[in-house]
Structures are given as structure tokens and as C-alpha cells.
């Protein structure tokens, strides 16, 4: 898929627009500004303050270095800086959604990771004969984790399972590409060994 319009669409659909974060930050700021403006207008009109008069507030801020202990100032500073850092990170980080792009001719196809995981588990179950309930698949941004819990006494060929999974994953042609991790758990056999 080389179409630039579809590229834009895929980019939009696989990354967070950060609308919620932006709205929260803006609403908090506007509420703060509105409150400050109300206090100033009340002071100008000669009425009593809602919480604190603007002049008193300014004096408190001006006297900050002497009014508070250094530890308290640093603590407040660190908290404010951390909030700022979180907002900056939200702005800078890509914000990937748990979706993958599937290469499909000239169409743009975006698939939820959950769909890939369940399809992969079903395919492995069909091909290997292991019950679907004994296969757990997790799809992350760059990795596919497959956990197989074969019933007691059933021999599994790890190499074969791996090749089934890898062939199927490769057939999806996901972008970004994923690496496969296969784990075979034998909980029943472990128990038997313990009791011996």
C-alpha cells in the first residue's frame, strides 16, 4: 500500500490523537483562570473574596522562600515538575494503540491485536489438535507470546508448533513486524514429579 492518503489514515487509526489529554489539561487551565479572574473582579468591586483575595495571594507567593521550609518548597516543585513532565511525555510519545497494520494489496487494513491473537490461537488449535482452551496468545506491539498447556501425556513437538505459529503470523504480514515467543507448560507433569 503506497497511497499517501491511506498512509495518513493508517497512521491516524493506529496512534492516539491525544484529544482526551489535551481536553483535560485545557479544562483544568481554563477553570483555574476563571477562578482567578472571579477573585480579581470581586476585589475590584470591593466585595469579600471567595477563598483568598488576589493581593493576599500575591504576597503569599512573594514570601514563599521564607514562609515554607526548603524541603516543602522542593516537594511542591518536584510534584509540579512531574505533572509537567507527564504532559510533555504525552505530547512527545507516539501513543500507539494496540492495533497492527496488515499489508493487503492496495487496501489499508488495520486489525485489533485481540483479533490477531484469537485467530492465531484458533489456527494453532486446528493445526496441532491441542484444545483451543489450552492455548493462550497475547499480541503486543512487537511480540507475539504463545503459551501452550498440553494435557498430560500428550507429546508436543515444540519445533512444529513454532513453525505453525510463525507461518501463520508471517501470512498476516503485520506492520510493525512481530517476533514470536512460544512457551510450552506442563503443569500436570510438574505436579506428578513433586508427588513422587
Amino acid at each position: 500500500m503506497t497511497d499517501s492518503v491511506l498512509r495518513t489514515v493508517v497512521r491516524r487509526e493506529t496512534h492516539s490523537p491525544r484529544t482526551v489529554a489535551m481536553l483535560v489539561v485545557v479544562v483544568v487551565l481554563v477553570l483555574g483562570l476563571a477562578y482567578a479572574a472571579v477573585e480579581i473582579i470581586l476585589a475590584l468591586a470591593g466585595r469579600g473574596p471567595l477563598l483568598v483575595a488576589p493581593g493576599t495571594a500575591f504576597d503569599a507567593v512573594a514570601a514563599l522562600p521564607t514562609a515554607l521550609t526548603p524541603a516543602a518548597i522542593v516537594t511542591i516543585g518536584v510534584v509540579i515538575a512531574l505533572i509537567g513532565l507527564v504532559v510533555v511525555l504525552l505530547a512527545v510519545k507516539p501513543g500507539r494503540l494496540s492495533k497492527h497494520e496488515m499489508t493487503w494489496n492496495d487496501r489499508a487494513v488495520v486489525v485489533d491485536n485481540g483479533v490477531v491473537a484469537s485467530a492465531l490461537a484458533q489456527h494453532l488449535s486446528n493445526e496441532s489438535g491441542i484444545a483451543r482452551d489450552n492455548i493462550v496468545v497475547g499480541v503486543a506491539h512487537r511480540a507475539v507470546d504463545v503459551t501452550v498447556r498440553p494435557p498430560l501425556g500428550i507429546a508436543v513437538d515444540q519445533q512444529q508448533l513454532r513453525s505453525i505459529v510463525e507461518t501463520e503470523v508471517a501470512s498476516y504480514r503485520l506492520t510493525p513486524s512481530v517476533r514470536t515467543h512460544l512457551k510450552v507448560e506442563h503443569p500436570a507433569e510438574a505436579e506428578r514429579e513433586d508427588s513422587r
Binding site: I40, L85, S118, A119
Partner: protein, 195 residues
């Protein structure tokens, strides 16, 4: 598909985040850097002197005016950034041949697609819409398949349908297919009751 202006969202977040970060850093510097406390006090005195010079009502009104302007900008920018999906109807198209001319009315394409998709048992829900992205029409087919359905099959099926539609109407659409897992898909997961 939404046409939210993402760069604007992120720029706004970045600016506000940096300002907050700077305030926090200034507070830490107040303790950590020697002489910063004096600077703070001198600055506060300077502001107070300037406010006295301007006079109380004028200074207050001025401050409120600045706050109102900042608030208006803060509200107006996101309002222009957040745009819902802009739906454009698929244009009527005509395919001409010796046999005559076919005219496809608005919504026909989406209805035809939806009906064809509904025939498949493993597809629980489908939505077809057309959107305008960078002034180009993009057909969006959103599919929620039953659990354990291969996304490859879904993509192949929808791809074929869209290609058929293109042959029928004589117009090729840019197509975006999204395959979703949903709560409904999870609930519809058929449990084995017999073994």
C-alpha cells in the same frame, strides 16, 4: 475515522507541559541555587511596584483581560482541532458502455457492501462509511468478526467485495478496512459444551 488535528493537540500539550515543568524547576531552583530566593523577592517587589504604578483598577482589569484572552485561545484552538468524522456521501457515478449507462445513487455502495458483508456468518457487525481525508474520499469498512476468525479471511472477503463494487460502478475507491475485537465478539464466543 476522525479528522482531529493531532499536531495541534500535541503542540498545545507540549507548550503547557513545558510551562508547568519550568514552574516546578523554578521552585526547586529557589532552594537549590543560592541567590535565587533574593531574585524571587526582587522580582515580586518589581511586579508590586509596577502594579502600584499602573493603579489598582487598571491593573486588575488588565489582568482579567489577559486571562480572558488566554482562556479564549485555549478553548478556540482545541475546538478547531477536534473535528468529528466528516462524512461525505459516495458520489453518483455513471459507467457507460454499449449497453447503456449505469447510475449509482448515493448510499448504494455502502448498502450493497453492508448487505454482502451481512451474508457472512462469522461477521457480527459491519459499518460502512465514507470519509474525507485530505480532500480525498476514503471508504471505511469497519468489521467486527466472531472470535477466532482469521483477519486474513476478513480482509480477503472485503477486498473482493470492494473490487466487485468497483467493477460494478466503474469507480475505484480508496478503501480502509478496520477489524475490531469487541465485547460482543467475546460474549459470542461459543463455548464447548460437549466434549
Amino acid at each position: 475515522m476522525r479528522n482531529t488535528h493531532r499536531a495541534l493537540n500535541r503542540t498545545l500539550l507540549l507548550i503547557i507541559g513545558l510551562v508547568v515543568l519550568a514552574v516546578g524547576a523554578a521552585l526547586i531552583a529557589l532552594v537549590a541555587v543560592p541567590g535565587a530566593a533574593d531574585l524571587w523577592k526582587n522580582g515580586a517587589d518589581g511586579v508590586r511596584a509596577w502594579a502600584d504604578g499602573v493603579g489598582e483598577p487598571a491593573f486588575g482589569i488588565g489582568t482579567v483581560a489577559v486571562m480572558v484572552i488566554v482562556a479564549v485561545v485555549l478553548i478556540a484552538l482545541p475546538a478547531s482541532a477536534v473535528r468529528g468524522s466528516s462524512r461525505v456521501p459516495l458520489e453518483s457515478t455513471g459507467a457507460e458502455s454499449a449497453a447503456g449507462r449505469i447510475v449509482v445513487t448515493d448510499g448504494f455502495a455502502s448498502e450493497a457492501l453492508k448487505n454482502s458483508i451481512a451474508e457472512r456468518d462469522e461477521i457480527l457487525a459491519a459499518r460502512v462509511s465514507s470519509n474525507e481525508v485530505r480532500k480525498e474520499t476514503v471508504l471505511h469498512v469497519s468489521i467486527t468478526p466472531r472470535q477466532n476468525t482469521s483477519p486474513r479471511e476478513i480482509a480477503a472477503y472485503v477486498d473482493t467485495l470492494v473490487s466487485n463494487l468497483a467493477t460494478l460502478t466503474g469507480q475505484t475507491f480508496r478503501t480502509y478496512i478496520s477489524v475490531h475485537s469487541s465485547l460482543r465478539a467475546r460474549l459470542a464466543h461459543d463455548q464447548r459444551r460437549l466434549s
